[in-house]
């Protein structure tokens, strides 16, 4: 090991310690717990897949629902985020940095503030319904907008947008303009340039944006509770309830790790699919 290598590994150390103490050890602990049993509110060490079987039986439905919503949210966020990032990078010219700043500023707003903002916008007394009624488009407030899966999708897409814009913008910034002109010079229309030249090079950023949006929405339990109504329970809500209400850490852990595994599989699949579609021929 050379001197430079040794020095850089010392620089790594603090991050490694934090990562180990606050992430690896707790996660490892709950992974072990997921194979334990709960008897009379006491944890009993052991090794059984019973918790996973229960998760499969009880929560498969909620899982599929959650993943569907998370996929919709992640797809919408990535598409809108890409359009925004593309606008900032290629079309906005000197207004680009201002737009980027506006996107970032929404990050300062805070998570709960945004949720409550959407509550006031979408509610029966909200701005949307009031506006539509004032315009005479509807006679009475539409009740199903708030407290529905739609509200969850809308709220989370809005909240997650900066998380998608930033990595995608980062990737787009790494793309030089000349090859785009070269592609046009070789006969490619703008859409072809986008598909053949821009998207493949932006893939790392798009994948990161999609993954962030997907993981955050698949694990979220606050938004569904506040704007999702009684019919929108996502897996996060069930995990929370296992840990907090039923004090059943083993089943909660098993559910958590099932979701984690499913997330990884979904993301790997999505990445593989995108790479395949965009592979140059």
């Amino acid at each position: 090991m050379s001197a430079i290598d040794r020095r850089s590994s010392i620089l790594f150390a603090p991050a490694l310690v934090v990562f180990a103490v606050f992430f690896l050890i707790p996660v490892g602990f709950f992974f072990v717990v997921s194979f334990w049993q709960l008897k009379f509110y006491e944890l009993v060490p052991g090794f059984s897949f019973e918790n996973y079987v229960e998760v499969y039986r009880e929560y498969l439905h909620a899982g599929i629902f959650t993943f569907s919503i998370a996929l919709i949210i992640a797809t919408l966020t990535t598409v809108i985020g890409f359009m925004l990032a593309y606008l900032i990078r290629f079309r906005a010219g000197r207004y680009g940095p201002i737009l980027l700043f506006l996107v970032m500023i929404t990050l300062f707003g805070g998570y709960l503030v945004k949720i409550y903002a959407w509550k006031t916008i979408l509610g029966t007394q909200g701005i949307l319904n009031a506006g539509l009624m004032a315009l005479g488009i509807i006679d009475e407030p539409i009740a199903w907008i708030l407290y529905s899966p739609h509200a969850v999708v809308l709220t989370l897409v809005h909240f997650l947008l900066p998380f998608a814009v930033l990595p995608i913008y980062g990737a787009l910034r790494g793309i030089s303009d000349d090859p785009l002109e070269a592609a046009r010079d070789l006969g490619a229309r703008p859409l072809r340039v986008l598909i053949d030249i821009v998207l493949p090079q932006a893939m790392p950023g798009i994948t990161a944006g999609f993954a962030l949006a997907f993981l955050i929405s698949a694990g979220d339990y606050v938004t569904p509770r506040l704007v999702g109504g009684t019919s929108t329970f996502m897996v996060g809500n069930f995990i929370e309830s296992q840990f907090v209400n039923r004090l059943n850490a083993p089943v909660g852990s098993a559910l958590s790790f099932s979701v984690l595994a499913a997330c990884l599989v979904t993301l790997a699949g999505a990445t593989f699919l995108a790479r395949r579609l965009l592979r140059p021929r």
Partner: protein
């Protein structure tokens, strides 16, 4: 000899392949290109030559369709393409930065245009293989651009543009990023290519040596205007302005004034030359600047002392301080310099009538 050199530039009655009429480009308040006309004929190897900021790249990008002109129109092969983008013009560009697609292999880069055009796969493969041979990239076909040297990337960019069989191949300072040796090799390859496949090449350069070496027609630009247009031989021997004379090759430049058919230089030398009265500059190429130990029958005769001698292989580059205080350069043949070239030697300096050129001062 000169007839052969000039032929391509002066063929009068052929239909031009590219016809620019009143073309200009303004960025805000700045004129990058003032309204100008330019005809480019089939088979020409044309250099747009000028210092940076002279509008040569803008002009090339206007021809390629990457910019829309502020005025005027462009015909290519008899068709008005003024409002058409680069994807709809039969021109292809070799970019200064090469502009290769970083995520595609050499083969995919070269075949990209053909694939867009919807050519059948076997045809694309055959064509790509042929081009890979043409630009000597055999064995590198499946590499990504980042694993190629600058010269190799350059050749991929060239092959990619040639794959489209463009009516006009545009080269934007394409050799500027290469080191000297590689640049010379690429110049030879470009000339060989132009001989082999014919076609019309237009290239932008700020390097007069490169323009002289490659082109059979040079268009000199200054501040967005065409200053001179002709064969390399014409441009070198008969520059029409002081700027062209100074920019193309080395030149001794004397300031003077012409009155009633006599030019009087500031250092006292006088000779007759018909033309308008006014301030003039006299341009004498170093190879036309004669040196002799004794007075000789030149048009101009001056005396001075040899100040410095540089040996450049084929010739000596001799710096002489004239008695009038000016410094001039003379190139002397390495084998037969014709006079003693020791530093400090007093010499007679002058030129013959056909060795100088009088142009009106700017």
């Amino acid at each position: 000899m000169q007839g052969a050199l000039d032929r391509a530039a002066t063929a009068p009655d052929r239909q031009p392949l590219v016809r620019l009429r009143g073309i200009s480009k303004r960025f805000g308040d700045v004129w990058a290109v003032h309204p100008l006309d330019l005809d480019i004929h089939e088979g020409e190897f044309l250099a747009l030559l000028g210092p940076s900021g002279c509008g040569k790249t803008t002009l090339l990008r206007l021809i390629g369709g990457f910019l829309e002109p502020s005025s005027g129109h462009i015909d290519i092969a008899g068709r008005d393409v003024t409002r058409l983008g680069p994807e709809r013009r039969k021109t292809n560009m070799v970019f200064q930065s090469y502009a290769l697609f970083p995520h595609m292999t050499v083969r995919q880069n070269i075949g990209y245009g053909l694939r867009i055009a919807g050519k059948p796969q076997p045809e694309i493969e055959a064509k790509v293989n042929q081009l890979i041979d043409l630009v000597h990239l055999g064995g590198l076909a499946d590499r990504l651009p980042k694993n190629l040297s600058g010269g190799q990337q350059q050749r991929v960019a060239l092959a990619r543009a040639l794959a489209m069989e463009p009516a006009v191949l545009l080269l934007d300072e394409s050799l500027a990023a290469l080191d000297l040796k590689l640049r010379k090799a690429m110049q030879d390859e470009l000339r060989a290519l132009h001989r082999a496949i014919g076609g019309t090449f237009v290239f932008v350069t700020h390097d007069q040596g490169e323009a002289m070496a490659l082109a059979n027609r040079i268009v000199v630009l200054q501040d967005g205007r065409i200053i001179q247009d002709g064969s390399p031989h014409e441009i070198y021997t008969a520059p029409t302005t002081e700027f062209v004379a100074g920019f193309i090759g080395e030149a001794n430049i004397f300031e003077g004034e012409r009155r009633a058919g006599t030019v009087a230089l500031a250092n006292g030398t006088r000779f007759s030359d018909a033309g308008r009265d006014g301030r003039v500059v006299v341009v004498v190429r170093p190879d036309a600047m004669a040196l002799a130990p004794a007075p000789f029958g030149g048009e101009a005769a001056m005396t001075g002392r040899i100040e410095d001698v540089m040996f450049l292989g084929t010739h000596f580059r001799v710096a002489i301080r004239l008695d009038s205080g000016e410094s001039v350069f003379s190139h002397r043949d390495a084998v037969a310099p014709g006079t003693d070239l020791a530093v400090g030697t007093r010499v007679h300096v002058g030129w013959q009538k056909d060795g100088r050129r009088v142009v009106e001062a700017a």
